[in-house]
Amino acid sequence: MTNGWTDVANADVVLVMGGNPAENHPVGFRFVMEARRKRKAKLVVVDPRFNRTATVADCFVPIRAGSDIAFLGGLIHYALSNDKFQAEYVRQHTNAAFLVKEGYGFEDGHFSGWDAEAKRYDKSTWAYEVDGQGYAKVDPSLEHPRSVFQLMRKHYARYTPEVVAAICGCTKEDFLKAAEMVTVAAANDKSGTVLYALGWTQHSHSVQLIHAAAVVQLLMGNIGMPGGGVNAQRGHANIQGSTDMGAWNMLPGYLKLPRANWATLDEYVKANTPKPLRPDSLNYWSNTSKFMVSLLKAYYGEKATAANGYGYNWLPKAGENDNHSWGFLFDRMHRGGMEGLISFGMNPVANGPNTEKMIGALSKLKWLIVAENFETETAAFWRARELADEYYPDSGEASKIQTEVFLLPAACFAEKDGAFVNSSRWLQWKEAAVDPPGEALRDQEIIARLFLKIRELNEKEGGAGAEPLRNMSWNYANPLSPSLVEVAREVNGRETGTLRQLNGFGELKDDGSTVCGNWLYSGSYTEAGNMMARRGQDDPTGLGLYPNYSWSWPANRRVLYNRASLDHEGKPWDATRAPIRWNGTRWSGDAADYKADAAPQAHGAFLMLPEGVAKLFTPDFAEGPFPEHYEPAESPVENALHPKVSFNPAAFVMDKLGAAAEFPYVGLTYRLTEHFHYWTKHIASSSELQSRFFVEVPHDLAVEKKIASGDMVRVSSARGKVEGPALVTKRIPGLKVSGKTVYQIGLPIHWGWLGKVTGPLINNLTASVFDPNSGTPEYKGFLVNLEKIS
């Protein structure tokens, strides 16, 4: 979240799209209800289903899964063509005025630079026109035909309410009602928030979808404003922390993964330190070297020196264009290209796309280590045929699978201390409630024991990676079980000489004199103690920022980009709702997203970006500088905007796809409030609340197929099938899409072959189709068929 849960109460309009907080974030949803009661906020819900969030909405618009960019593009068009955007904000705080190079264009579904052979874009035309010093040229009047503003206006001119209705399957009237409510936030004294979750992130165009939301929010002047922002509702107590601490393409703190073409630290730093694109840009990533060197010092301690590039050479490097995201990883495994897998807090058989492919991939491994609270489907993948033969009759016989599986009992969250990082970016420290049962160990102990054993074997027997293993810093009081306090202190960072804990990332150096495990978390564990354990409930701004409750990254900032809540001169857009104020010498209020002692006019409001302003147009993503509507990989209709390029040309497809003739309905997966992922089927109370897998069938389709609630039905796709009782409902209406009725089938996840309650794994149906930027599978909007069994 750019803002946070408590801040949602400051909104005047709440757009919930691609999420269902009433069911999936019920505790956070109280702040939506608070906004409704205290500010008379309007709640707009746009979703394929009339879900529990929709039941309390002021406006509900049903749309087809995978059509969200068309809807948001429609909002952009509506705002621009009806003068319902915050013009001064757009002029001052976005790149609307920047001029784009000649040669940029968009035609028939392709942006300029498409390389049909390589199946990727050459992005050289997605760039600004620059002057002699390398600064982007601007036209503050926004009238230049190549200004981002005019190009944006032109790009979205196609997204008329009629086109939106035809693509999304909603009525024009419903769209216009929603558009009117959402764009109320264009007024200086109104804020609107956007809440989303996996309904946006699980598409083959998901990153562009969120980009589209950012464009809408920038046009409304909602970024940096209390009650505004683009807010991801994270689905797991600590998934935000897991992203912050690194992923397949990131080191901690969103530092880029080292790649083979950056052979030395200098080359890495050079490639990852952007140049400012405007004279007043602070360009905070110019500090990349400080973040990276301090991280290397945390990895390699005293062994990391200036002479050896702080051990940069010991880090593994990916090939220049290698992709190690989920889809590629399992595809490689499936082709026999991997030896082993360590799976912690993760159940790939249940949550990966195309379950049969996951099972096939794991059975090609030599070894598999699973550390879990329960025996999961992944740990028991070799029993698929025995446990769920109706779904995997062709999977191998257990005796023929050679994979050696180690199931390590691991402590659950309540048996560990440490910090949870919630959707609001708050690091909340917690204590262990009880000791782990039996032989279960805490994660850090499992990792430490594995690491120390591997190092010992490597020393004795030799092998690859001797240097990084030997040089890894492991100075914990009990090396076999590092305490999380020790780790948290190391992540915060300290001076190497004095061992003084740092107050924040502003103190980081690139000369080896500071250690820091994640620059974004610097300030969380200072000399004053564990800031994450704070529980102060004072609220000096009255905006629900609670600066002394836990600790928020970065720098305890509660509203990201809060400098944009004021105009260039430092005057708040809304004086009743200013998170920060300039007193002539310093900023007060929330931790300013700005230099603490810089006057309002000194820099652009968006410090992290080389532009100094927010980007409506950006070359950052794989499939275009503006978000464009593409159909899902499997769609019942052609793309109404450009039938020849129906699907995102840059997305990754690694599976067999079905056609609408055989699989005429749209499948959507989702979560129920009663369960958490594939875990709580092991828990009595959750299992009691929703015991049985079911399939939600639109009422009119059920009539057509003579299906009544409780009848057993089979849902099949080009990958597999699931079976369960039907729940016939009017909550998933049939939609008129380009003149054709499209039905969507509701498929709650949560079941599997192991637990107190069992049922089919929903990913039997889904396809290995991935967003090209995030590598997230397309779990929403794929083609299925529906049959009545009995």
Partner: protein, 262 residues
């Protein structure tokens, strides 16, 4: 003295079922498999080991789709039909704070209370042969804690307080809703049972049955007669109870005062 009450603002309920889990957990109910009846509801109805049920009601009226969620449990009537019907002295206790509590030591499992209840709440267990229902967490309220369902509710749909305060709160919330354009909003506090200690704010008070609530509940006539013209029979039973209590007193000494919550 002030009596206690629970206010359920159905306009804030999102059907998350946290109250169901809180109720099951606090009351140490054993795990039972839910049944699937074509809705999101955990069970089709209340059960001897399931006292707090969110009812889901999906319906279309005038082309408008509604999906209502509403919490269902003992209403803790001011004039409890169950108590009127109960022949077993001390099995049903009307606490001074307004809570209608069952004392299972005294329950004889006759099921008369089920007949007496206009809300169809008490459930007879086939295994223990005793009747069960929500106690408004009399064990928590006795020590100044709010009931478990209210403690856990994430949207503030549930509140706990004195009946007077909550009646006032329900009225002001109704006014607020009406001002927001929900013209049919109203309070559910049925007069047929003398009012209840579980109060509802309904968006459409003219149709309580949409929320699974009876439109005009009252204690059945037969049950009224039971303590009316046939009172002598009841009196005999009561006299027996008093006599029993007297002997109990002589033998075991005075009983400790009920620690009623304010």
């Amino acid at each position: 003295m002030h009596t206690v009450a629970k206010l359920i603002d159905t306009t804030l309920c999102i059907g998350c079922k946290a109250c169901e889990v809180a109720c099951q957990t606090w009351n140490d109910q054993e795990f039972t498999l839910g049944t699937f009846d074509g809705s999101y509801q955990t069970l089709p109805d209340l059960a001897p080991n399931f006292w707090n049920l969110i009812k889901f009601n999906e319906f279309e009226r005038g082309g408008k789709l509604s999906w209502l969620m509403s919490k269902y449990q003992c209403m803790h009537c001011v004039d409890p039909g169950c108590l009127r019907a109960c022949p077993a002295p001390g099995a049903i206790v009307h606490l001074k704070n307004g809570i209608v509590d069952f004392n299972h030591d005294n329950c004889i499992g006759c099921g008369y209370c089920i007949t007496g209840c206009p809300f169809d709440v008490p459930r007879l267990s086939p295994t223990t042969k005793k009747v069960y229902k929500c106690s408004l967490c009399s064990d928590r309220t006795a020590v100044g804690l709010e009931p478990a369902c209210i403690k856990t509710c994430p949207t503030n749909c549930l509140t706990f307080g004195t009946r007077e305060d909550l009646l006032e709160k329900a009225q002001s919330r109704t006014a607020e809703l009406q001002a927001d354009g929900v013209a049919a909003a109203g309070v559910y506090n049925p007069a047929g049972v003398g009012g209840t200690h579980v109060l509802y704010v309904l968006a459409n008070a003219a149709r309580p049955e949409d929320y699974g609530l009876p439109r005009d509940p009252s204690v059945p006539l037969a049950v009224r007669l039971w303590k009316g013209p046939v009172k002598w029979l009841g009196s005999l039973v009561v006299a027996g109870g008093i006599l029993g209590a007297f002997f109990h007193y002589v033998r075991y000494g005075p009983k400790k005062e009920h620690a009623d919550a304010e």
